[in-house]
């Protein structure tokens, strides 16, 4: 059973590699192409005069921020008004303002933190025209920003400040990547049993004569993009643990592949567009290493089970008749291996969908997703946001190496100077600092502590997890952490700041690099395409965020793990 679990994990990795490579090549063509297709031209004409013009980073950012503002207002309005609108067969009322505010921030920022209850809160219209639309466009915005930053890096001649066009990049992300992949995944999910209907709940009369309500709806179309766009917000409250979102072992592996597919593919894309293929493979390998270490810790930890389970006396042994281990809040059809792998994968990217309850994970098993997120969602991170987050850390690594050999640091032929380093440091350190400040506020105030569900050190971990997840735009949760006006508002702050501060730093960085001339490689240039750089980068990732979270880890998972 254990060997079977390990084999599933290895096969998953191989298939992921095999799929992400061709997709990366395709993405490089999509963003690198000069000519627009007729639909793209029509789309840009619809948006108005000048909508197709080349933009420097400031114009790119202002188009983006304006779009996000309009999205936020529309989504908030929709959630508040859903009770009066159509496609609401179960007659759900308006979403309360705190939850609507948090959910709006959550979906616009590609986070999909769930303070809402899915099937009990959202009408079909809100799910489709509100949440799922943001699933597409928030992912598309991240991918657009990455494309712009990579163009800045790839400009050889220097002197130009143009990074591309926001609307064009958004269109290409959705039309050529997200929508086609979603259609394919939706069909696979349908074949496995995921519902797709506009009809409302069914009331069944059970074999013992009770009445049972069964929620359904347009689930497959929503789950597909939620998995692919590093979104993660479930149609149902219990997300992909619910059989209607994830009915079989096959649907589960496809959803897990969708979690990591685009984030890994974009590393390949970056290597092509920036003409730095070996460098990209080093980044790819660093990310694979972090994923492998994470699942290598989480799987045995969950299989071993918690002290409470071991002392209870029930049979935890993996055998032919059961997967054993910590099955609390896990589903039989996934068992331990697939749930541990999912929890690791969903937090290595900023997805946050879950196929089991993380709050019930063992202290060590639950620390893996927490640390994964805290590393900054760069391994490989969210669609777009992951790689531009990684670029901050790459610059820090290059800078550290430059200090050691006493040369001005260079990255891909561009001199890295004070402005770039300031932006990289801002991008890398802002979110971890924000997490610690917000967590402190949440555990120091009675209003914040009201959200905590489990007693003791685990309760602290719930709060830490909540703000780590929201500020890093992940969206997974130790779901016992409850929604109050205080926590929903604090979360909204985490969501918006955690998304837009690094995003703007990345665009500014792209603009700054675009203006620089490429200098020729010399014998003294620090090489970024070998194993040495890989180890250095790994060290920088671990040290930058890892040291910041260590004190908080001792108060949470480590304290809990030592106790039992």
């Amino acid at each position: 059973m254990i060997a079977q679990g390990a084999a599933q994990i290895v096969v998953y990795g191989v298939v992921l590699l095999a799929l992400s490579y061709p997709l990366g090549l395709w993405m490089a063509r999509v963003y690198g192409r000069q000519r627009a297709d007729p639909l793209e031209r029509a789309f840009l004409r619809l948006l108005g005069r000048d909508a197709a013009a080349d933009q420097d980073w400031k114009r790119y950012a202002s188009s983006l921020l304006c779009f996000e503002l309009v999205c936020s207002m529309f989504l908030y309005g929709l959630l508040r008004l859903q009770g009066h609108l159509f496609l609401n067969p179960d007659g759900l009322p308006a979403v309360p303002w705190q939850i609507a505010l948090n959910t709006t921030a959550s979906f616009v920022t590609n986070t999909n933190w769930q303070f809402y209850g899915g099937e009990t809160t959202m009408s079909y219209l809100s799910q489709m025209a509100g949440l799922a639309v943001q699933n597409f466009v928030s992912a598309g915005v991240g991918m657009a920003v990455l494309a712009a930053v990579v163009r800045g890096v790839a400009r050889r001649a220097g002197g130009t400040v143009a990074l591309g066009n926001f609307w064009r990049d958004l269109y290409r992300s959705v039309a050529y990547i997200l929508l086609p992949l979603s259609l394919v995944l939706a069909v696979i999910l349908l074949s496995q049993g995921v519902p797709q209907t506009f009809r409302g709940r069914v009331t069944a009369t059970t074999l013992e004569g009770r009445s049972q309500q069964i929620a359904r709806g347009p689930v497959a179309s929503q789950v597909a993009i939620k998995q692919l766009g590093t979104n993660g917000g479930g149609f149902y409250n219990a997300n992909s643990a619910v059989p209607f979102e994830n009915p079989t072992g096959l649907s589960n592996v496809c959803e897990m592949l969708a979690l990591l597919l685009i984030p890994f593919a974009q590393i390949v894309m970056f290597g092509r567009l920036a003409n730095a293929r070996r460098h990209a493979w080093v980044i790819y390998a660093v990310c694979v290493t972090i994923v492998a270490v994470g699942v290598g810790i989480a799987y045995p930890a969950e299989q071993h089970g918690s002290s409470v389970l071991r002392h209870s006396g029930v049979n935890l042994a993996a055998g032919s008749g059961q997967s054993g281990g910590n099955m609390t809040d896990k589903e039989v059809r996934f068992g331990i291996a697939d749930t541990a792998l999912w929890a690791t994968a969903t937090t290595d990217v900023s997805n946050g969908a879950v196929n089991g309850g993380l709050d019930a994970f063992t202290p060590l098993g639950g620390a893996v997703p927490l640390v994964n997120m805290f590393l900054g969602e760069v391994e490989p991170g969210g669609v777009g946001s992951g790689l531009y987050g990684m670029i901050f850390l790459i610059l820090i690594a290059v800078f550290v190496a430059g200090l050691m050999v006493g040369r001005t640091p260079e990255w891909l032929g561009k001199k890295v100077e004070a402005r770039e380093m300031k932006l990289a440091a801002l991008g890398a350190l802002f979110v971890p600092t924000l997490v610690l400040v917000l967590t402190a506020a949440a555990v120091a105030s009675p209003a914040g502590r009201a959200s905590i569900f489990n007693p003791g050190a685990h309760g602290f971990t719930e709060a830490l997890y909540a703000y780590t997840s929201q500020a890093n735009n992940n969206g997974s949760a130790f779901a016992g952490y409850g929604a109050t006006t205080f926590s929903a508002t604090l979360g909204t702050v985490a969501l918006y700041l955690g998304r837009f501060v690094p995003l703007l730093a990345a665009l500014a960085l792209g603009g700054s690099l675009a203006a620089k001339k490429t200098v020729p490689v010399s014998a003294g240039t620090f090489r970024t395409d070998g194993a040495t750089f890989g180890v250095l980068l790994l060290g920088v990732i671990v040290l930058t965020a890892g040291l910041l979270i260590l004190p908080a880890l001792t108060l949470g998972p480590i304290a809990e793990g030592l106790r039992g």
Partner: protein
């Protein structure tokens, strides 16, 4: 101002294409190609819906196989799924496990002499992820088989044959873990009894 107009136009277009046309297209396809799954994998007996093969339902009678514990309020609510969120060291989890294990021992021991807590598979005593996990582990089905056979006056072999029939193996023989679909198994038992 121009950017605001462009943003509004873009969002409007996205809402129509991605928010309405895309789910409508998938729904149209689903209703033609996979009508049973698309409407919730509902199970019908004598013309009325008795549940879904993707949702556990409550069973209390000893004549039936019982599903895993559920943390939804009330239990097995397929319209309000929920984790238990009980932390690994929470004393409430220890109490819940003890209570569930004692209940199983009381129920099953008369038919499984010498049954101890060490024989109870873990999935039988801890809440499932969704609260409506339709499956139990093959080990838990095996544990319940003697009781169901005895109460229904069926040969154990018949019950075991029905368990095997309701066992969902790994997808493609490889992905996921095997489980026994409780509702399908109980329906098969009832059919066996009548037939």
């Amino acid at each position: 101002m121009r950017a605001l107009v462009a943003s509004a136009a873009c969002l409007a277009l996205c809402t129509v294409v991605l928010g309405l046309a895309y789910p409508a297209l998938v729904t149209g396809f689903a209703q033609i190609a996979f009508p049973h799954q698309a409407n919730g994998s509902l199970l019908v007996r004598d013309g009325s819906v008795v549940g879904s093969s993707l949702a556990a339902q409550a069973f209390a009678s000893p004549r039936y196989f019982h599903p895993r514990p559920s943390a939804t309020q009330p239990a097995y609510d397929a319209a309000a799924t929920a984790f238990s969120n009980l932390g690994p060291t929470n004393p409430a989890l220890a109490r819940l496990i003890a209570r569930n294990a004692q209940a199983i021992l009381r129920l099953e021991r008369p038919y499984n002499p010498g049954l101890t807590i060490h024989d109870i598979p873990v999935d039988a005593v801890v809440p499932s992820g969704s609260g409506i996990d339709p499956d139990i582990s093959p080990a838990y089905a095996e544990l319940q088989a003697r009781r169901v056979a005895a109460v229904r006056h069926l040969p154990l072999a018949t019950v075991e044959r029905l368990i095997a029939k309701s066992t969902v193996g790994r997808s493609l023989g490889f992905f996921g873990e095997p489980g026994v679909n409780v509702l399908e198994l109980n329906l098969a038992l009832d059919a066996e009894h009548h037939g």
